[in-house]
C-alpha cells in the first residue's frame, strides 16, 4: 500500500551553505530498510524538483536509523543572501515527510 513517509519516519532540516540538509529517521529498523531502499537520491531530487536545483547527495547512519540528504542549491542563494521566506530550509524536513512510499499491506505504521 502507499502511505505518507511521515507514518514511518520523522525528519529535521537546516541550512548548509547554498543548500539544505534533510535528515530522515525511521521509527523502527523495519522502517529504516524501507527508507534506505526507496529514498534514493533521484527520488528525493524529483520530490524537491521545484525547490532544489542542484545535486542531491545521500549519507547513511544505520545506527541512528537515519538517512541524511544534502539538497544543493535549494535556498535561493545561501541563508543570508536569500529573499525566500524559508531561507534556511527549515521546512524541507516536513516536505520530505509528505513523500508517498510503498509498504507491505500488513506493515505496522508508527505514527
Amino acid at each position: 500500500m502507499k502511505i505518507a513517509l511521515s507514518k514511518i519516519a520523522y525528519a529535521r532540516s537546516g541550512d548548509k551553505g547554498d543548500g539544505s540538509n534533510v535528515g530522515v529517521v525511521a521509527y523502527t529498523p523495519e522502517g529504516y530498510e524501507i527508507i534506505k531502499q526507496q529514498l534514493t537520491e533521484d527520488r528525493v531530487k524529483e520530490h524537491f524538483s521545484s525547490i532544489c536545483f542542484g545535486e542531491v547527495v545521500r549519507y547513511e547512519a544505520p545506527n541512528l536509523l537515519a538517512l541524511n540528504f544534502i539538497l544543493h542549491d535549494s535556498l535561493g542563494g545561501g541563508g543570508s543572501e536569500s529573499l525566500k521566506t524559508d531561507a534556511q530550509g527549515k521546512t524541507h524536513g516536513l516536505g520530505i515527510l509528505m513523500m508517498e512510499i510503498d509498504v507491505p499491506d500488513d506493515f505496522a505504521v508508527s505514527n
Binding site: S6, Y10, A11, R12, S13, G14, D15, K16, G17, D18, N21, G23, V24, V25, Y27, H47, F48, S49, S50, I51, Y59, E60, A61, P62, N63, L64, L65, A66, N68, I70, G77, G78, G79, S80, E81, L83, K84, T85, D86, K90, T91, G93, L94, G95, L97, M98, M99, N111
Partner: protein, 457 residues
C-alpha cells in the same frame, strides 16, 4: 585522575537572540555544574564587526552581560561555572562589561577568563602574502580579489584554550569564535583530565555538544511529532550528565515541559549534518555512525559507543563579505481572487519602476505569494483559492538606489491597485546589505590563541 565522577553541563543559548529564559531557568530549576552558551552564527560575526567599527566598546553578545546580571548570584551559590563564546569580535570589551556587572552585584572572588586569537580580520593580507589563499570551500576561488569586501574573518577555535582558562580557575570563560560543541567539550576535558590524544572521548564530548548546541531543539523543540511534546511553553533546556569514560546521558530538569526521547535526540543529531562519518571540528573528527542511543527512563537518553579520529591540521575560517544589496516588501491581499490580485500587484510594481527608468529583467524579480504553498512548492498541493495571501516582492543587486526605488512602489498599491490590499504597517522597505559567507581552511600552526584569567577587583 578525574576531578569528579560526573559533570552536569547544560546549554542555555543556541544563538544571539535566543530566549533569556533558557539560562535563567537552567540555574533555577535544578542541579548544574556548568552553564554553556553559544551566541555565534556565521552572520553574527559580521554584525559584531560592524557594531565594533561604530563603537570600539561593542562587538560582543550584549545579551550575555544582561544574562550574567540575572544568574550570577545563583551560580555562585550553587558553584556553577559559565563558558560562552559571547566575546564575539571583542572578548576584552565583553570581559570589561561583565566585570562591571560583577562589581555592581557586589560579588567578590569572581575570576573571568578570556580566550582570544580567533579574529584574523586585521591579518588577512599578511596571511595571504604568507601563502594562505583562503580558497572558498564551495567554489574553489581564492579570496584575494574579494579582500576589500571582507567584513569579518574568524577561525573556529577548539576546546583547548578554554580548558586552559578553567585550569587557571576561571569561573566565567569568555571566548571569541570557539565552535558550539567546543564550549561543551572543554568542561569535560578539564574535569576528567582528557587530553588531545583521547580521540574517542573528544568525539563523545563533541557529540554531546552538538546535541545541546541548539538548546531545546533536542528536548522537543522543532520535533516532527509536536503533538506528543507536553507543556512546550515550559520546555526544559537540555542537561548532559557526562561520565569520565565518554558515555553520557541527555536529560532535562524535573518538572519542566518538553520531551527527551531517542527520537528528539536523534532529530538534533541529524540537524545541519554533512557526512555523518566525518563530523570535523578543531578538536577531533567525530563519527556519528558509531553513536548508540538508548531510552534510559523518562526524559533520559543514554549515549555510548562513540568513536573519533584525530583532528585535521587545518582550522576552518568563517568569513563574511559584502556582496551587494537586497530589498523585500510585503502586502496582504484579501480575497476574493487573492492570488490573481497578488500577481497583478507584483506586475504593477515592476511596470511602474520601469516607467521611471528602473528596469528589472524577469529573472531579477523576486515574487513570493505566501499562502500558495511557497515552502513546499511542488510537493503539497496549493490551495485552490486561499482566503488571503501575503505578497512579498523584491530584488537583489549592486545598485542600492535602484532597489530603494523599487521599495517605494510597493505601499502605493493600497490605493492604486486592485481592492483588498492591506497589511502595509511595516511601511516602505529599505535595501539592506547582503553579507555572504566565505568558508575556507588555513593551517593551524599560524594561529596562536591567548588565555588570560583575572579576578575582578
Amino acid at each position: 585522575m578525574p576531578n569528579r565522577e560526573k559533570v552536569l553541563i547544560a546549554n542555555g543559548q543556541g544563538f544571539w537572540g535566543d530566549s533569556i529564559l533558557g539560562p535563567v531557568r537552567l540555574v533555577n530549576e535544578g542541579p548544574l555544574d556548568y552553564l554553556t552558551l553559544d551566541y555565534l552564527a556565521e552572520v553574527t560575526m559580521s554584525i559584531m564587526q560592524k557594531l565594533k567599527s561604530r563603537n570600539p566598546e561593542m562587538g560582543y553578545a550584549t545579551d550575555f552581560v544582561r544574562m550574567i546580571e540575572r544568574v550570577l548570584p545563583q551560580c555562585r551559590e550553587k558553584g556553577i561555572k559559565i563558558v560562552a563564546n559571547a566575546g564575539g569580535v571583542n572578548p576584552q570589551a565583553c570581559r570589561a562589561a561583565v566585570a562591571d556587572v560583577v562589581k555592581k552585584l557586589g560579588i567578590s572572588g569572581v575570576r573571568i577568563g578570556v580566550v582570544e586569537g580567533d579574529d584574523i580580520l586585521a591579518d588577512l593580507k599578511l596571511l595571504i602574502d604568507g601563502g594562505e589563499p583562503f580558497n572558498n570551500m564551495d567554489t574553489g576561488e581564492p579570496l584575494a580579489p574579494y579582500l576589500d569586501q571582507v567584513q569579518s574573518a574568524n577561525v573556529y577555535i577548539g576546546a583547548e584554550p578554554i580548558v586552559e582558562a578553567l585550569q587557571q580557575d576561571a569561573d566565567i570563560v569568555i571566548s571569541g569564535r570557539a565552535t558550539d560543541p567546543s564550549v561543551v567539550l572543554a568542561p569535560m576535558m578539564y574535569e576528567f583530565g582528557w587530553t588531545m590524544d583521547d580521540y574517542d572521548l573528544l568525539a563523545a564530548g563533541t557529540i554531546a555538544g552538538h546535541i545541546v548546541e541548539c538548546g531545546s531543539q533536542c528536548t522537543g523543540g522543532n520535533y516532527a511529532n509536536w503533538r506528543n511534546v507536553p507543556d512546550m511553553a515550559r520546555m526544559g533546556y537540555p542537561v548532559i550528565e557526562a561520565n569520565p569514560d565518554g558515555t553520557f546521558a541527555v536529560t532535562k530538569h524535573e518538572n519542566t515541559g518538553g520531551l527527551v526521547t531517542v527520537e528528539t535526540v536523534t532529530s538534533q543529531l541529524v540537524y545541519e549534518m554533512g557526512d555523518p562519518a566525518r563530523y570535523i571540528t578543531p578538536d577531533c573528527i567525530a563519527d556519528f555512525t558509531s553513536i548508540q542511543l538508548k531510552q534510559d527512563g523518562e526524559n533520559r537518553v543514554a549515549v555510548s559507543g562513540i568513536k573519533g579520529a584525530p583532528a585535521t591540521d587545518t582550522y576552518k575560517v568563517s568569513m563574511a563579505y559584502h556582496s551587494g544589496y537586497k530589498i523585500v516588501g510585503q502586502l496582504t491581499v484579501a480575497g476574493p481572487d487573492a492570488v490573481d490580485k497578488a500577481k497583478l500587484c507584483a506586475d504593477i510594481v515592476f511596470d511602474r519602476v520601469a516607467m521611471d527608468g528602473c528596469e528589472f529583467a524577469p529573472d531579477e524579480r523576486f515574487v513570493e505569494i505566501v499562502g500558495t504553498n511557497v515552502c513546499h512548492a511542488g510537493i503539497a498541493a496549493a490551495p485552490a483559492e486561499p482566503a488571503e495571501v501575503v505578497l512579498r516582492v523584491g530584488a537583489k543587486g549592486n545598485d542600492k538606489k535602484k532597489l530603494e526605488r523599487l521599495g517605494m512602489e510597493i505601499v502605493p498599491l493600497v490605493t492604486s491597485g486592485p481592492p483588498g490590499v492591506t497589511g502595509f504597517a511595516g511601511g516602505r522597505p529599505k535595501a539592506s546589505d547582503i553579507i555572504s559567507y566565505w568558508p575556507a581552511l588555513m593551517k593551524k600552526d599560524k594561529i596562536k590563541c591567548t588565555v588570560s584569567v583575572e579576578e575582578v577587583k
